[in-house]
């Protein structure tokens, strides 16, 4: 393989030298566009509607994710808000939702859904000043929320870096509390990242908000997409990382949170966002055997990243939703590749064939997280706790298990 790669590299280098630059540029553009179009939907109404129709045919819904986060200018923030509103319109038009007609799936969640990154709605997204952040963001977010209600759509407030985690809950809660006309509106949810050691207090805050508002709130449980950034920032500042160091610990915590959320089903509805077949199976079994009164679970996957898994989830009749990035193809694939290297390993370089997913999570190791203390899934190392911070294991000896995560969890 190494020799073949070397030869391929040389052949490509030769072609890049021999072909006219304009032709090389066109070939590169076409190749990248072709690959990106698999994972990202171009932001034109026709493409969005076509992808919705494709998914509908497969028995799946979509949660659209307009690309972009941490904007720098008001124009960018306005553009992002416009993109969200446009996607709400398109999804609602596709499903036929309106203010008086909620078109929901079997989990009771509106089929039209848009995931919103709050940092893309404000140029002043400041964790130490939540009131000012809410004030600055309020016009745009209020417009989005009212529009979602008028079209019977669901808004999921996406999780971002740890430093913004509390803002992603506080700002919407604050703004919704200031909107009497939105009282009783229930079609919004939050994301819980299982790789965070203090995920439980965040879940508890969502529970408190749900009980205060008097309705269930959906939480999308994911493993987390910013592990590289969180650990690098923590190491640079010499403070403990907010995340687990080991993938195995995150896996265990994920299942613990599944049980924790199901146990609070009076206030929470669970959505499992993972490419690990075991997590989906575990959640369904836990609900069926331990918490039969909990609401139906929604299963989410990154769009066409583990297509075999998504196909199977829908085929067995579980409520399945694709998380679909929408935007500029080249910009999107570049952003996904660089900003989230740990996601890139599977978001860009994912696996859709069942054999690939099967190899990642072979039946022999399924349930290992709870069968074998200290070992889990493909991770062959014993749990190390925060030992990786120690100089003797940092970098050279510690395998950075998260970075080598192969099961493609968000």
């Amino acid at each position: 393989v190494a020799t073949a790669l070397l030869l391929a590299t040389r052949a490509t280098a030769f072609a890049a030298r021999a072909l006219p630059p304009r032709l090389t540029g066109a070939v590169v553009d076409r190749a990248v566009g072709l690959m990106a179009a698999r994972f990202i939907v171009p932001d034109t109404p026709a493409e969005v509607m076509a992808r919705l129709a494709d998914l509908k045919g497969l028995g799946r819904d979509a949660s659209f994710d307009p690309l972009g986060e941490l904007v720098l200018t008001q124009e960018e923030a306005e553009r992002y808000a416009d993109a969200v509103v446009k996607l709400i319109d398109l999804a609602a038009a596709h499903y036929g939702g309106s203010a008086h007609k909620r078109v929901v799936n079997a989990a009771g969640i509106p089929r039209a859904q848009v995931s919103v990154k709050l940092s893309a709605l404000s140029t002043y997204f400041n964790p130490i000043d939540p009131e000012a952040t809410a004030l600055e963001m309020r016009p745009r977010l209020a417009r989005i929320l009212r529009h979602a209600r008028s079209r019977g759509a669901f808004i999921c407030f996406d999780a971002e870096h740890y430093v913004y985690r509390d803002l992603s809950l506080d700002v919407p809660a604050h703004i919704l509390a200031d909107m009497p006309d939105m009282e009783g509106w229930r079609d919004f949810g939050f994301v819980v990242q299982a790789y965070l050691k203090d995920a439980v207090p965040f879940v508890e805050r969502v529970v408190a908000l749900a009980r205060q508002r008097g309705h269930r709130i959906q939480v999308r449980l994911v493993k987390g997409a910013y592990w590289d950034a969180e650990t690098a920032e923590a190491a640079a500042q010499d403070v403990p990382a907010p995340t687990f160091w080991n993938k195995a610990e995150t896996d265990i915590h994920f299942q613990q949170l599944v049980l924790y959320i199901l146990a609070r089903s009076d206030a929470l509805a669970l959505a499992v966002g993972s490419h690990n077949v075991r997590e989906h199976a575990f959640a369904e079994i836990a609900r069926a055997r331990l918490y039969p009164h909990a609401p139906v679970i929604e299963h989410q996957v990154l769009h066409r990243t583990a297509e075999g898994l998504a196909w199977a989830l829908a085929a067995v009749g579980w409520v399945t939703r694709d998380y679909v990035p929408v935007g500029d193809l080249v910009l999107g694939i570049a952003g996904r590749g660089v900003e989230r290297r740990d996601v890139a390993a599977h978001a860009i370089f994912g696996a859709s064939h069942p054999h690939q997913v099967g190899r990642m999570e072979a039946p022999a190791v399924v349930g290992a997280a709870i069968d074998q203390p200290g070992r889990c899934g493909w991770v062959a190392e014993p749990l190390l706790g925060d030992r990786a911070i120690r100089g003797d294991s940092l970098g050279s000896r510690h395998p950075w298990p998260h970075a080598k995560d192969a099961d493609g969890d968000r």
Binding site: T12, S352, D392
Partner: protein, 261 residues
């Protein structure tokens, strides 16, 4: 040499032992004296903040478990190794960097023993155990623990069977030819770190090259990445690229092994 002599003469490197009370039980704290300003008060006794932080953590460690944690005391981040058999807690700086440096300078046997003790005890009470205890989560690492009052073996067995059923269904999925080709291509890229790195680098730059309608910049960046990739491939094969070492010379020697700390 002067620094070493100075440290040896002054007896600067010293290991301190202090007793603290943890829920009525005496524990010994052991640490190098460089940590004394954060841990001791003027009278040489463990200060209130250190007592609270350390005792709170020690109370969470289950009996018989060797535990390891990072604690913040007086804005200083310390690592703690808990050895319940001897009711001992050893505190040290991240990476044992300061202690190892002083140990080398002073040659102090007590400090060396402190370092060795830290190195010889891998933890059995890990972060997930601490999180489980702190938030009273279902102890999934413990095979005997029940889950929501139900037998765990049943849950594990059902999950396994469900996974097998799902994988069986997944086998029926037939990707298109394009999808198979893309999967193969992506699998090759993902399997080769050097290739993955260069592809990510190349793709990251592309959006900024849109101004270039002639394709010259894209070609230049592509060739640059291909050159870097070829160098990485040749390094891996042990054939150092000729262009990189003109005038010709021997390939670079492998890096020195990392020091113990």
């Amino acid at each position: 040499v002067m620094a070493t002599e100075s440290v040896r003469a002054s007896g600067f490197a010293e290991v301190i032992e202090r007793l603290i009370d943890v829920g009525g039980s005496p524990w010994t704290l052991i640490f190098a004296d460089i940590l004394a300003p954060s841990l001791l008060n003027d009278g040489g006794v463990i200060n209130a903040e250190a007592q609270t932080v350390v005792a709170d953590y020690l109370k969470r460690v289950p009996p018989g478990s060797v535990a390891w944690a990072r604690l913040a005391i007086a804005d200083v981040h310390l690592l703690a190794l808990v050895l319940p058999d001897t009711q001992t807690c050893r505190l040290y700086t991240p990476g044992m960097a300061q202690e190892a440096f002083l140990g080398e300078l002073s040659g102090d046997a007590a400090l060396q023993a402190h370092l060795d003790a830290i190195d010889q005890h891998p933890p059995t009470f890990t972060t997930i155990d601490e999180v489980t205890a702190k938030y009273e989560l279902v102890p999934l690492r413990s095979p005997a623990a029940a889950v929501a009052g139900r037998d765990r073996a049943v849950l594990v067995d059902s999950t396994r069977r469900q996974v097998e059923a799902l994988i069986h269904v997944m086998e029926a999925y037939k990707p298109s030819r394009l999808e198979r080709l893309q999967d193969w291509f992506l699998e090759v890229i993902a399997a080769d770190q050097a290739l993955l790195r260069q592809v990510l680098r190349f793709v990251a730059v592309l959006p900024s090259l849109r101004f270039d309608r002639s394709g010259r910049e894209v070609t230049r960046v592509l060739r640059e990445n291909l050159r870097l990739l070829r160098h990485a491939q040749q390094q891996r094969r042990g054939t150092w690229p000729r262009r990189c070492c003109w005038p010709p010379g021997p390939p670079p020697s492998p890096p020195e092994p990392c020091p113990r700390v």
